[in-house]
Amino acid sequence: MKTTVTPKGRHRLDFMKEPIIALAGNPNAGKTTIFNGLTGGHFHVGNYAGVTVETREGFVELGGKRYRLVDLPGIYSLTAQSVEERVARQFLMEARPEVVLAVVDAGNLERNLYLVTQLMELNLPLVLILNMMDEVEEKGWVIDVDAMEERLGFPVVGTVGSRREGIDAIKAAALRATDMPQRGEHVHFCASLEAEIEALLPRIKRLENNPFPLRAAAVRLLEGDGELEPQLTLEDPQLSEALESARSRIHEATNHDPDLLAADARYGYSAGLVKECVKKADPVSRLDASERIDSVLMHPVFGLPIFFAIMYLVFWMTFQLGEWPMRGLEMMFGAAKLGLTAIWPEGFSPLLLSVLKDGVLGGVGGVVVFVPNIMILFFCMSVLEQSGYMARATFLMDGFMHRIGLHGRSFIPMVMGLGCSVPAIMAARAIDNPKDRLATILSLPLVPCGARLPVFLLLVPAFFAEAWQGAVMFLLYFTGIAMAVLVAFLLRRVVFTGGLSHFVMELPPYRRPGWKGLGRYTWHMGALYLKKAGTVILFFSVVLWGLANFPQVGEAERAEIRATYGESISPEEEATHLARIQLERSILGQVGHAVEPVFAPAGFDWRISTAVLGAVAAKEVFVAQMGVIFSIETQGEDSDLSQVLHESYSVPAGFAVVFFMLLTFPCLSTLVVTYKETHKLRYPILQFAALFGLAYLVAVVLFQVLSFFSG
């Protein structure tokens, strides 16, 4: 099957290793939850359609045999429209799993069974997993699982994925499915459709490149399948014509198109099954809990203000609640520096003391102190995702997104981008229009990600009076998001024009977030941040420390200082001057001075210029580098970096730096993921160059204008 996506090329090579079991089903049915239950994994789940966008693998043991379990993105049907759907379809077709676990939301059976009727045609051993049985019970429905199994001819099990109930039953059912004779139960279509299917079978039988079982292929071709038809037409050039005339014969006989007839038969089958096997409670006309919550949160007038209030709350918690533990950590690092100097044996390698104090504590410490803020931010984002509010926010903002010419689904990646651009760019896979998707991917790095948080938290208190800090933070986030939207809009209008932007989205019921999962996720994100601090940031801090300390100054410079300031200079003053000279004449200083003219129009001195360049590796390197430089300069005395910065730079320069860091080029990981998702080198290069240009321009203009006004 030739498609433009290669989610993970290695599937093709690994097919033979262990037999595969695949999890397939509608978006948000709980596939990843079940996957985690079966494998003990902790992959991210969320209460909206399209959380999983790539295949994920784990292992399960069934009857003493090892199987590879594969979690697939959710699909509504085997007709793929977006990238993640193609990933799932391609996998089912190419890997031919040993068993397919069809996960359905039992509270929404009719719709969920539609896909199952298509899976049944693939002639693969199936297990039907009726997930979310807790919600079914709450509604007072009773599902006769045995009757359903009897009707379908393959194992059916009820589960509550979020409470890990029914996991063993799934394992037993999967084993049962492998040696159960296949009954070949399938949907019967109306007479004229069946006749055309029958007529097509011999023709398809001759084709070698058909990945589907015969009957399934015939139905798909008559319905119209954008991938299968061109592929088979290569082998049988007259096929398209034959299909066209078959479709018009059907239309003549029934006055409907085959796709509608097929869907009607499938839904008829699924509705029949539900009617037979599900005893619904008396239809009550009262609103259920979710609908009552929605009448407030999705209110035509108050809905949007509530959304903005919630986002404000998220950031208030990130900054204000995060402030106390952050100050605590800051004090700890300050004390560690002093303590280290105090216990350091007199005369023992001062260079080693410096690398520990200035490089490690100064650089890494400066980044680590912000871990509480990062964890709070990710916690809040996860609550929004898991509760089901994300889909509501998308609903509320969709009219706006449409007006600016964007796909409604672009909204979720943009919110996720507040956490980290990398998963956000991956999440853009759920956008079915390729042009909307590209515009979203390219503009996403402008959304202020979590890694820019430490930079802001360092710079904003440094340059702005206490009373203004909140407003400036708001302005920063607003500018970043507005820029992202503006760029996406322009890209869509000027570069990637055309294409339909229709958008359907399911609004799932509100669900209580699993606190254990939330805690684990938050901890995981914090640990990732610390890991980054302990690896990438540590590495760069030490390298930067080295660059800032070599070549070493010595007696010659000491003499120089005495010559300038006179012999009577105090040892402390001499040390200060020496440290400054050390920095200026180091490799870092020389490089900094070389690039300084480039950044001078923006008011950056050599120290900021080098820090800005360091941020290519990761945004936090900026913070680490300022930490290292100023730790050397102040000889590790001052632990409040913000205060030092405040004394060293003017307000216009501060504004310029902050906005430069807001808009600046994406980090390496973002560039790499952009390349992986677009398969074109020109997009990450464009991203890099355009954002650097934009940031530079804004910084220069800000600095020049503000300097002019501040005299």
């Binding site: 429209q81 509608l260 609903f395 509320l396 969709d398 339909l500 229709h502 958008f503 359907v504």
Partner: protein, 100 residues
């Protein structure tokens, strides 16, 4: 772009029916046909919007879009352009609190 235009107009031109986007929040109706371009119609079929199916419009987004409906017991939102491709049966129980 051309396709979108096609998508919007077909229903009205052919059948002179009411379409889903004509309904106000709280109103429900029965689908009589779907038209519009391939992908757009297909997705709606897959989601269970079929002739004979009753749907209830629950709400409309703050900018006049999207349209939030209830169909087959679940909630769905779609854009105005797509809702114009969903033709509705005339008369009978238009108003009312009937649940889809």
């Amino acid at each position: 772009m051309k396709m979108e235009h096609h998508c919007k107009t077909q229903c009205r031109g052919h059948f002179r029916h009411r379409v889903l986007s004509d309904l106000k929040p709280g109103q429900s109706a029965v689908i009589c046909d779907l038209c519009g371009c391939g992908g757009c119609k297909r997705r709606l079929l897959e989601l269970g919007l079929l002739p004979g199916q009753e749907i209830l419009v629950e709400r409309v987004g703050p900018f006049g879009e999207p349209i939030g409906i209830k169909v087959r017991g679940y909630h769905l939102s779609l854009r105005r352009g797509q809702a114009q491709g969903v033709c509705l049966e005339d008369d009978r129980h238009t108003e009312g609190s009937a649940q889809a």
